[in-house]
Amino acid sequence: MLIILKKVIYIFLIFVINLAVCSYLLNKLSARAELRRGFIASRAGGLGYPFLEISKYLTKSSRLNIWEIFLFFFSFFIWTVIPFSQTFILIKVDSDLLIAILFYIILVFSFLVNASRSSYGFVWNNFLKKVLMMFSVFIPMLFSIASLVLINRTLSLREIVGFQYQYWNIVYQPLGFILLFTSAFAQFKLTGLTRKNTVLFSENSEKEGAGFGRLITRISNYSTLFFLLVIIVILYLAGWQNLYFVNGNIMFVLKFYILFFVMLLLDKATPRLDDYNYLISINWRFIVPVSAVNFILTIVFFILRNIYNLI
């Protein structure tokens, strides 16, 4: 029991520290990229900014709704099945990849419902459009994860990391990595942290006032981003595997922040992705077919190797 409690506290600490560092980096980097000075929350480089932001949310009173409570729980539940090292995991399940993805989908779905709710009632038109936009960019992600599972022949994230002791999965599945990253990037743009996303901060939800509910939404935003980054690192970049003499945990953190940095830069370099037609067209005309081809090639490879023993 004590061990589990210790693990919970560790995971919570990791989450909070990451939250502080990432929100600091997000604001500083986006200010630099946009050629402005950035916030002036405090003199010491703005390190107190994340805490100031929390107090900003807490000073306003607003009602919580059921979807925000869902968001709150699932943004923490998701970390129970994700391993941070071979032993550092709360619930040991063999198919934790599936459960993690399921939790993630529920999290995103509650996001969409929460964003479509407004003081004038539920905006069905917006909601359906957002669901279509969001879940169409899920398809390439699922395809590339499926082809990776075929290669590794396991659904356990720890075993997938263990499989990469010699070569990282990015070597076997370079196209899959690019597709998963593209899909994750599109999801980050749509449910993203910056004000550019129209899926979450629509014209209705924007005006409903900040409060504890908004704080939860914000934290869940970060949670989805962390999930996407961690899953890419674990699946393709060998998670906590040592690199020569460098400690695996340090490698994990390094890879996570490099991906975070790249995502932020790409986010700044591209305009808002609210054009429904454009997004749908590039997704269905390019990303989904390529990921399907990648998946089919992997299946062919799998059959030739494991059934006919040709390769």
Binding site: A33, E34, L35, K196, P271, R272, D274, D275, Y276, Y278
Partner: protein, 501 residues
């Protein structure tokens, strides 16, 4: 003789052409027109209400006149009598004319009734006149989406009413009733001095153009010959303001698209241009720099060097801005085919300036008229083809490059002349007289009509380009998505300062 022709006292070949049209009007419409005269570079006709439709029909159908465009209709009171001021122009024959229609003498209410009676007759000849009719039934019966005036940043002078089929617009209607103060009431019976200081407010992004327009009008009235150096400096500043206004326009487009880097970069660049302007004029938005008969300050050698040094930086960064914005396939995909207006639609709505040129009509009064000393400079008129949002943005970029070219020439060829003393406004003695004057401002052709006596303004009518751009928006919005309304409106560069009820 040659020198005088060059200095603009005698008319250029374009003005000779206007004289011919004046003679033609005298010949064809002798019985129906009370008076015809030339004001500056425009024609001015006075006629009675009864002969209006026949005159308009003749002007439209006779190939000697070939008027295609009705730019604006204004109701105002002159000498105790209500009049209608109709602004017409011909792009093919390259001239424009004002019709002053005398309504039957009566009070305000009866004249407004008369105005409502006349309008349907005008609409049958020029369809664009329907924009000036009251269309309340349109607003109430079809609308299902309403954007109130505060929703769009910078476009707070009108409400937008849309009728939609899912997210495609069927019909659009703009209600400009929110901007109530008419300039003809606001500036009525003020002194010339007051008007001169306040007129730059009609254009919030390029305040020098209204000033320039007023000064050109009064100088034309007083027959003042302004020195070459002064005109060069005026051209220089108007082009600097054109650059600033166009960069501001680009920043608004970038903000709507969500290109943060381009948005902030554009604002920084505008800051550089405004800094140059500020060092010379002392002000950024309301420069109050151009005076009647001259300018406020002469440019010293040091300041000319500052402009030269600033230009090289501006051209580099504008190029970077263009690369940042238009080399991005997501942005171009969003701009392309959005809000496309072909040449006939744009002409029919009376749009002028870059919006018209993006649709393929070559109409720039810097080239087409004998405006200041623009004939001394070598520059191109940027023309588009399809008239969509992408071309409107591209036209602005190309115009910035041409403006930089003009400034470069003006700075290097600045004549070394003695600047004459300015005209003392308080000592102006004039009989009752009317004057029209127009300049090519960044939004289109900015035109004013004034009636004055001594240094007192009796009437002042602004005939700005933004109303026509708004009418064009009404025409091109159907078929586009509701999401793109803000982008299309911003791409038309509507200036709220000159909008009126």
């Amino acid at each position: 003789m040659a020198k005088e022709l060059y200095n603009g006292i005698y008319s250029s070949h374009k003005l000779v052409f206007i004289e011919r049209i004046e003679k033609n009007i005298d010949y064809y419409l002798k019985d129906r027109i009370l008076e015809v005269k030339r004001l500056g570079q425009e024609l001015f006709c006075i006629l009675s209400k009864s002969s209006l439709t026949t005159v308009l029909k003749e002007l439209k159908e006779n190939p000697e006149f070939d008027i295609q465009v009705i730019n604006s209709i204004n109701l105002f009171k002159s000498n105790g009598r209500y009049c209608l001021l109709i602004d017409l122009s011909s792009v093919t024959n390259n001239y424009s004319m004002l019709l002053k229609v005398l309504l039957s003498s009566g009070d305000g209410a009866s004249s407004r009734e008369e105005y409502k009676e006349i309008l349907p007759a005008i609409v049958q000849i020029f369809k664009a006149a329907e924009f000036y009719m009251s269309r309340n039934n349109l607003m109430q019966s079809y609308t299902d989406v309403i954007f109130e005036s505060q929703v769009f940043d910078g476009l707070d002078s009108f409400d937008t009413f849309l009728s939609t089929d899912y997210d495609i617009i069927d019909k659009a209607y703009f209600d400009t009733a929110i901007s109530r103060v008419l300039p003809q009431n606001f500036n009525k019976s003020s002194s010339l001095f007051d008007l001169q200081t306040a007129i730059s407010r009609y254009d919030s992004s390029a305040g020098i153009f209204p000033e320039l327009c007023l000064c050109l009008a009064v100088e034309e009235l007083l027959k003042t010959q302004v020195s070459r150096r002064v005109q060069y400096i005026r051209i220089l500043f108007s082009e600097l303001y054109r650059i600033s206004s166009h960069i501001y326009y680009i920043s608004r487009i970038a903000r709507i698209i969500g290109a943060d880097i381009a948005y902030n970069f554009a604002l920084l660049e505008r800051e550089h241009v405004l800094r140059i302007i500020e060092t010379m004029t002392g002000s950024r938005i309301n420069p109050n720099f151009i005076k009647i008969g001259g300018i406020k300050n002469d440019l010293s050698q040091e300041r000319i060097i500052t402009i030269k040094e600033g230009l090289s930086g501006i051209i580099k960064s504008v190029h970077r801005l263009e690369t940042l914005l238009l080399d991005n396939s997501i942005i171009t995909a969003k701009l392309k085919n959005t809000g496309a207006a072909d040449k006939d639609v744009a002409l029919g709505c009376g749009a002028t300036g870059p919006n018209l040129r993006a649709s393929g009509a070559r109409y720039d009064i810097r080239k087409n008229r004998n405006l200041m000393f623009y004939k001394d400079f070598s520059f191109l008129v940027a023309i588009g083809k399809y008239g969509d949002c992408l071309e409107r943005v591209q036209i602005r970029f190309r115009e910035i490059y041409q403006s930089i070219k003009i400034i470069d020439q003006a700075v290097s060829d600045l004549p070394d002349e003695f600047m004459r003393k300015l005209v003392d406004i308080s000592e102006i003695e004039l009989e009752y007289s009317e004057m029209v004057s127009s300049v090519e401002c960044p939004h289109g052709v900015f035109k004013i009509f004034i009636e004055m006596k001594n240094n007192q303004i009796l009437n002042f009518v602004v005939l700005g380009p933004s109303k026509n751009s708004l009418y064009l928006a009404e025409k091109i919005l159907p078929g586009n998505r509701v999401e793109d309304v803000e982008l299309i409106l911003a791409s038309l560069d509507i200036n709220s300062g000159e909008m009126m009820s």
